[in-house]
């Protein structure tokens, strides 16, 4: 069977691959959306923090023989802590200002982080082996699915929906949303907003690092692995609606799929398809697919 000259088996496998990539988008854009939602900061350093996650996992394995599973917890914690420090020392000073400044600061941070890693580890990057327990794959009939990729989807979606639940369905979420709008008043109501903000940034950053550890066995761990991804992830967040948690998750997965399809039918355009969609979406639905106008 063929659809538009493409065998359905191939199409199926492409969709599956799209879903896998979508999971990465989802988890990265979720982190961005949370940070934007609460801090009103467009975290340009997100890509660098993702890269840090991957590098920490690699360093842990090669220098200290710390395995993947420990790294999966430890790297986000470490990077999250790094995020907490950044927030306490720098970002904190920008909340009252225009979005622009947060974007610029984190842009600068990204340059610094990437520059340092590049100086330390070179540009070609390092290779991280798929952990023993997840190596190999399953023959699905239409394709060979590496077990690790399946694990990525499961892990990413679990974390995404867990986070979504925490934010949308608990009081914490209401604090977060209210804190975005008027931190002073929320404080006056008795909520420790600075702490809340610090932890949120830390959490968003930790999500990036988590994605980084997930990505380490899939992609070559290199200092620029995040900077190439980040622009696309921005687009995902914007299409989903800035600050919308569910929006970022769903859009992340959806765009992964769309991109997968583009790779089948018009591969050259797969790098811009996200941007084309973004322009169309914003013209039709100004606040993004899930954003509130």
């Amino acid at each position: 069977m063929e659809i538009l000259g493409v065998p359905t088996a191939l199409l199926g496998s492409q969709l599956l691959v799209g879903l896998i990539n979508g999971s990465f988008y989802a988890i990265l854009s979720l982190g961005l959306a949370i940070i934007f939602g609460l801090l009103n900061i467009i975290n340009f350093a997100h890509g660098a923090q993702y890269m840090m996650g991957a590098f920490i996992a690699w360093l842990a394995l090669t220098r200290f023989e710390i395995n993947y599973w420990v790294a999966l917890i430890a790297a986000p914690l470490l990077v999250g802590l790094f995020g907490v420090i950044l927030e306490r020392t720098m970002l904190r000073k920008l909340y009252k200002l225009d979005h622009l400044y947060g974007l610029l600061l984190t842009f600068g941070l990204a340059l610094i982080i990437e520059g340092i890693f590049r100086d330390q580890f070179g540009i070609s990057g390092e290779s991280y082996e798929v952990p023993e327990a997840l190596s190999g794959g399953i023959h699905l009939g239409f394709m060979f699915l590496p077990i690790y990729r399946a694990w990525v989807v499961v892990a990413a979606l679990t974390v995404c929906f867990g986070t979504w639940f925490m934010i949308e369905k608990t009081k914490l979420g209401a604090y977060l949303r209210a804190g975005t709008e008027n931190p002073q008043i929320v404080q006056a109501l008795g909520i420790n907003v600075p702490l809340l903000i610090t932890f949120t940034y830390g959490y968003g950053v930790a999500l990036a690092a988590f994605a980084g550890v997930l990505a380490a066995p899939v992609f070559q761990v290199n200092p620029l692995m995040g900077s190439n991804l980040i622009i696309v992830v921005f687009a995902v967040v914007v299409i989903g609606g800035m600050g919308s948690i569910l929006g970022s998750i769903v859009t992340g997965i959806g765009l992964g799929l769309v991109e997968g399809l583009t790779k089948v039918f018009y591969p050259e355009a797969s790098a811009v398809v996200v941007f084309v969609i973004m322009v169309i979406v914003l013209l039709v639905r100004p606040a993004g697919l899930f954003g509130k106008a």
């Binding site: 209210a178 709008e181 008795g190």
Partner: protein
């Protein structure tokens, strides 16, 4: 004016409070006190520093100095979010309704800091408008509805010292009247209230004492009893 024989235990005492926004010095040494269950007002022209006084109590100004005693404890060094734990509730003049939250979420947002907060039912009975708009997002409310919500939000928390900034602003007379009743009721229940009001007709009968501010200083303190005699003076200074 401060009588040593004041029977009511002191809820709040402010001494020599200075406040700054950036470079500008707004409050120049405010001294005032409120006993438990009292209601006082801060009067003054636009820009005289009434709102700033309330904000300074909560630590929402750039910088402040002096002392702020709540229940006998100096809290000036404490961060804003701790003030609610001391039982202070605040209705800001700009209302500050959260746009991304629905009316009910706005109501449910503040944590309960003490017992004695009003239940949702009580609140909806007091402000039927809110019941009707309970699931509508905060910013879609009309000006007056937002004002009611801001007031209601604080009543839920059980805060015992209420700082109310221009709460009658933009409200229809029927609601203003109701608010007056609410405040009388609150006083009865032992709440302590600081009112900042333009609507003197509203504030006058409620207050035990009036502080008149000008350029960030208290220029007069008028007790309830003295009020009739000072009306002319007030009229001259404030145009009341």
């Amino acid at each position: 004016m401060t009588s040593a024989f004041d029977p009511k235990p002191e809820m709040l005492r402010i001494s020599d409070l200075h406040a700054f926004y950036g470079e500008s010095h707004i409050l120049h040494g405010i001294d005032l006190h409120v006993g438990r269950g009292e209601c006082i007002t801060l009067l003054g022209r636009n820009g005289s520093g009434r709102s700033t006084t309330l904000k300074s109590i909560l630590g929402l100004v750039g910088r402040r100095s002096g002392s702020i005693m709540v229940n006998g404890k100096d809290v000036i060094a404490e961060p804003t979010h701790r003030m609610a734990r001391h039982g202070i509730g605040y209705v800001p003049e700009e209302r500050a309704i959260f746009a991304s939250l629905s009316t009910e979420e706005n109501l449910m947002l503040p944590p309960q800091v003490a017992s004695g907060g009003m239940s949702l039912d009580e609140i909806y009975r007091m402000f039927p408008n809110l019941l009707e708009r309970r699931s509508s997002p905060g910013t879609k409310l009309s000006g007056g509805e937002q004002q009611m919500l801001a007031m209601a939000r604080v009543l839920r928390t059980g805060a015992k010292l209420l700082l109310l900034d221009e709460i009658t602003e933009g409200l229809a007379p029927v609601i203003v009247k109701k608010l007056g009743e609410v405040i009388v009721e609150l006083k009865k229940r032992g709440f302590t209230i600081i009112l900042v009001e333009q609507n003197f007709r509203f504030a006058a009968p409620l207050a035990d004492r009036h502080y008149v501010l000008e350029h960030g200083e208290i220029i007069a303190t008028i007790s309830k009893e003295e009020l009739p005699g000072r009306l002319d003076w007030l009229h001259q200074t404030l145009g009341v």
